[in-house]
């Protein structure tokens, strides 16, 4: 579909322009800005997606929704592997992550990958936050386009 391209280009342009090596700003703050944009997007998107859904049973049920329906909506595929230690840590593995498929598959540019994941970390955190789960989301790439998102639920 044509509008997929539009979103990919927007994401790419957003990442590049926010990430511009600005003297006054550190790398960390650019990443957190992208994350914040993702958070707002995820928070609002999930509200519209789950409008007609029955209530989720528990945390795992919510996570399954994120891995299947939510992920398919944004990334055109489901999460390939979900692991959990049943103590609030979930690892979501995507073997063909949409924003990394256009990048070299070698490890040469692996330092450049974190900025392409920041938005998504925010999206997941935003979506879960709207569904009542406070968490920290981090991402790591070992060999592109495979990447892992780690969700750490914060219990009060």
């Amino acid at each position: 579909m044509a509008d997929d391209v539009l979103f990919e280009l927007l994401h790419m342009e957003m990442t590049i322009s926010i990430f511009q090596p600005d003297q006054s700003e550190s790398k960390r703050s650019s990443i957190s800005k992208l994350e914040q944009i993702g958070f707002c997007t995820g928070y609002r998107l999930v509200e519209r997606l789950t409008k007609d859904w029955p209530r989720f049973k528990d945390e795992l049920d919510t996570m399954k929704f994120i891995c299947k329906e939510f992920w398919s909506c944004i990334y055109k595929k489901q999460i390939d592997n979900l692991r959990t230690n049943h103590q609030g840590v979930y690892v979501l593995q995507d073997n063909r992550f949409r924003f990394l498929t256009q990048l070299s598959q070698s490890k040469q540019y692996i330092e450049a990958t974190p900025k392409y994941l920041a938005f998504t970390c925010g999206v997941v955190r935003g979506a879960l936050s709207n569904l009542g789960i406070t968490c920290i989301v981090t991402a790591e790439v070992f060999s592109p386009p495979t990447c892992k998102f780690q969700v750490q639920v914060q219990r009060i």
């Binding site: 539009l6 979103f7 322009s17 944009i37 998107l45």
Partner: protein, 179 residues
């Protein structure tokens, strides 16, 4: 276990919502960073330009369209591109007598679907990215144009009007010493 009474979500709709929401969050972030409407407009235009430069490749690959004979032809193709990428069909009107300037009227703008402008941002051209996209895309097919928003529904106008003015045809400039 499959969920009972689950409604399958329309992927096309979700797609456009995702795009709209992402764009909204991005504009909000840029507003926070620059705090000056004119500067934000410039940033959006610049980002649009960079998107347009790449988007034209996709457009040409998808449609396989050839050269335009005149600006009216170009306008028709722009209209088609809007339909393809944003699922809206703007009307092409208000031609200048010389035929080098026209307006695209957007009856509904998907970018502004969930948007309300906060007070004190009268100068913000929320959809300015579109102007940039147009400029960037046309530059890649050797047309230098100026594009700007004349009216905006968000600012209370009855429709959204994007004005496009043809400036000149760009010629390929070879670097010195190369044939």
């Amino acid at each position: 276990m499959s969920r009972q009474g689950m409604r399958s979500t329309d992927p096309k709709k979700v797609n456009s919502e995702l795009f709209t929401l992402t764009y909204g969050a991005l504009v909000a972030q840029i507003l926070k960073d620059y705090e000056n409407d004119d500067e934000v407009n410039r940033q959006l235009d610049r980002m649009g330009y960079n998107i347009g430069v790449r988007l034209i490749e996709d457009y040409l690959a998808r449609t396989g369209s050839g050269r335009c004979y005149d600006l009216r032809d170009t306008a028709d193709k722009l209209q088609m591109a809007f339909k393809m990428y944003l699922s809206i069909t703007p009307s092409v009107t208000n031609w200048s007598p010389a035929g080098d300037e026209f307006s695209l009227i957007l009856e509904n703008n998907p970018l502004t679907e969930f948007v309300e402008l906060p007070e004190g941002h009268g100068g913000l051209k929320y959809s300015n990215i579109l102007a940039g996209v147009l400029r960037g895309a046309l530059e890649m097919v050797q047309l230098e144009v100026a594009a700007w928003f004349v009216q905006d529904q968000l600012a209370g106008d009855s429709c959204t009007e994007l004005r496009v003015k043809f400036l000149k045809r760009l010629e390929d400039a070879m670097p010195v010493g190369e044939d």
